[in-house]
Each structure stands twice: as structure tokens, then as C-alpha cells.
Point group: C2
Chain length 207, copies 2
């Protein structure tokens, strides 16, 4: 991965998120990245492989960050869950564009390489969470019957749809005049609290 690779991937990411994969042309990407049209094929082989390269790059980084939390011995199961929620929301905020592409690509369910990467990461993630929850169950702080995938779906679903519902959240709550950074900050805090509350209600006895 050279600087040029990253430069192209980042611009492609923006465009795929705002126009969709099919709605973005290689000429769009080349223009945005300030490189010649032929460079995309030269560096990645094809438009499709560029998408796959983007997914590999982003998902690899994600995997490392998740494992760091789960393997952190100094955290209690409860703290691990809360940290994983915070980490997830932070990642989505940092890489909003990529998570939008992820969402769209999952709906279409077409690119087999991307779908395989996604499934693998999801199962890994669920298994890691599973180990944390079992840890908590042994310590009698978590309930016995926990539907992990359903809980994760609620977390990702809420965060993903908030990405889409931001404006409408703002309008409904009469926060149109609020400066954008302030609004984003407030929303982020509320969202974190909201997801954590849901998890607590479902996992623990103590809530």
C-alpha cells in the first residue's frame, strides 16, 4: 500500500458513500483523487477490486481495535461491554462514509469477497462478545439467557440508522439552530448512553 493507493481509496470511499458503488464512476474517483483515469486499473486492477481493497483495509483496522479491548485484562466484563459500545460508536463517527458503504453493500449482497469479509468479521465479533458475556455470567453479573446477535443487531442498527436520521432527529427536536459541532457532540453522548442503557437492561441484574 503506497500513498497513492491510500489517496485513491480515501476518495473512492467518499464517493461510494455519497453516490453508491454503482453510482460512482472510475472517472469520478480519478478526478477526485487527482490522478489519471487509467491509474485506478493500474493500481487496483478494477473498480470492483478497489472496493474490495477498501474493505480489507478498513476491516483489518477494526479487527485489531476490537481484540485490544477484549484482551484487556484490567477491565471487568461490564466495562468491556461499555468500552466496546464506545469504541464502535467512535469508529462509526470517524469513518462515517465507510459504514454507509458497508450498509449499502450488505443490502445488495453482491460482491462475494466483501460479503465474506463481513461475515467473518461479524462472527469473530460475536464470538468475542460471547466470551465476554460468558465471563460475566460466571461472575453472576449477567443474565443467563442473552441473545447476542439480537443485541448486536440493536446496537449496530441504532447507530447505523442514526447516521441516516440525524437531520430528522434535529428537526423533530427543534435543534435546527444549534451549531453542527454542538449538535453532533450532544447526539453522540445521547446515543452512547442510550445503547448502554439497552445493554444494561438486557444483560444485568443490577440495572
Amino acid at each position: 500500500m503506497t500513498k497513492k493507493h491510500i489517496q485513491i481509496i480515501e476518495k473512492a470511499e467518499e464517493l461510494f458513500a455519497t453516490q453508491g458503488y454503482e453510482g460512482t464512476t472510475v472517472r469520478n474517483i480519478a478526478d477526485a483523487a487527482g490522478v489519471n483515469l487509467a491509474m485506478i486499473s493500474y493500481y487496483f486492477g478494477s473498480k470492483e477490486k478497489l472496493l474490495e481493497a477498501l474493505f480489507m483495509e478498513r476491516m483489518n483496522a477494526t479487527k485489531h481495535r476490537i481484540e485490544a479491548v477484549v484482551n484487556n485484562q484490567s477491565l471487568t466484563p461490564f466495562q468491556k461491554i461499555e468500552t466496546l459500545i464506545d469504541e464502535y460508536i467512535t469508529r462509526v463517527e470517524e469513518k462515517e462514509a465507510f459504514y454507509k458503504i458497508m450498509l449499502s453493500e450488505q443490502v445488495i449482497n453482491k460482491n462475494t469477497v466483501v460479503m465474506k469479509l463481513l461475515k467473518e468479521l461479524k462472527l469473530t465479533y460475536a464470538r468475542l462478545i460471547s466470551s465476554v458475556i460468558e465471563e460475566g455470567q460466571k461472575q453472576k453479573v449477567f443474565r443467563k439467557d442473552v441473545d447476542i446477535v439480537l443485541m448486536l443487531t440493536t446496537m449496530t442498527g441504532t447507530v447505523m440508522l442514526m447516521l441516516i436520521n440525524k437531520d430528522y432527529y434535529r428537526e423533530f427536536n427543534n435543534q435546527k439552530k444549534l451549531p453542527n459541532p454542538v449538535f453532533e457532540e450532544q447526539l453522540s453522548a445521547r446515543l452512547r448512553e442510550h445503547v448502554k442503557t439497552i445493554f444494561k437492561a438486557h444483560l444485568g441484574y443490577e440495572s
Copy 2:
């Protein structure tokens, strides 16, 4: 709206859901619907207007069904909320393809007609729910501080992402051998219970 209109709209709906709007060609639609290529322009004006016609058709039906629940005088606020959750999940199950398109289109955020329709429906929905919740608050069965949009986002987010996560839910829970109708039935019941539990935990004192 003639039978031909509906015939074309339904096939377009399937294709838009599985290939995306941009990934679907008018020739694809014409072939699937068994009509000549020129018929799409003849009946709808353009590919884009066909998408808009699909949204108008589906969202109009949705609006009527929601209002019927809210205006039903024989239901308590709690029953209304539960009915709205059930109705929503039923609608998504019935029109899976359309809800996938809705999701993709919201990510892209391009077609202004579609986005306007969506925003309108969402605000209407939130206001209706709001009135139900206020009703419940007067009767002291609901809490005072309820973030309606956040709750709705959790509901729609969970249901939308479950649409995408089905297979992976199945694999993680070792239900690969279960016949599909049985699995779908179980998942539907679990999902309804799950969303209702979340709502109860957030709305009521009694849970």
C-alpha cells in the same frame, strides 16, 4: 394505476432491492416484467420517476395503516405502542424488498422526491407516536423523559439490520439445519418480543 403499472412496479421493486437502483437497468426491469423496453418510459416517464412512483405507492399504504392504529380508541397507550411495533415488523416482512430499497436510498440521499416523502412520513410517524406517548404520560404509565426519535431509530434499526443479519444470526446460533419457514417464524417472534422489551424498559414504570 393500471395493472401494467403495478406489474412493472413490483418487478422493479424486486430488482432495485437485489441489485440496487443504479445497478438495475431498465432492460432488466422490462425483461422481468415481460414488457417492451420502451414501456417503462411510456408508463412512468423515466427510470427515476418509476422509483418515485414505487415510493409513493408503498408509503401511502403505510401511512393509512399507521393512522388506523393510532386512531383506534379501544386501545390503551401501551397496547398502541405494542400494536405499532407488531404492525411495523409485519410490514417489513411483507415488503422486505421495499424496505431494503428504502434503506439504500436513504444512505445515498440523492433523489429529492424520495427523500422528501421519507422525511414527511417519518415526521408524521414521530408525531403520532408522540401523541400516544403523551397520552400514556398523562395516565402515568409512561416515563416523563422519552427520546422518541432515538426509540424509533432503535426499532427501525434493529428490524432493518435483522433483514441483513438473518443468515449470520442463523449460523451463529447453529440453526442452519432448521427449515426456513420455521426459522423465519421463530425469528419474527423473537424480534417482536425483543423490540417490545426494549420499549417497555424505556417507556414504562411497570416493567
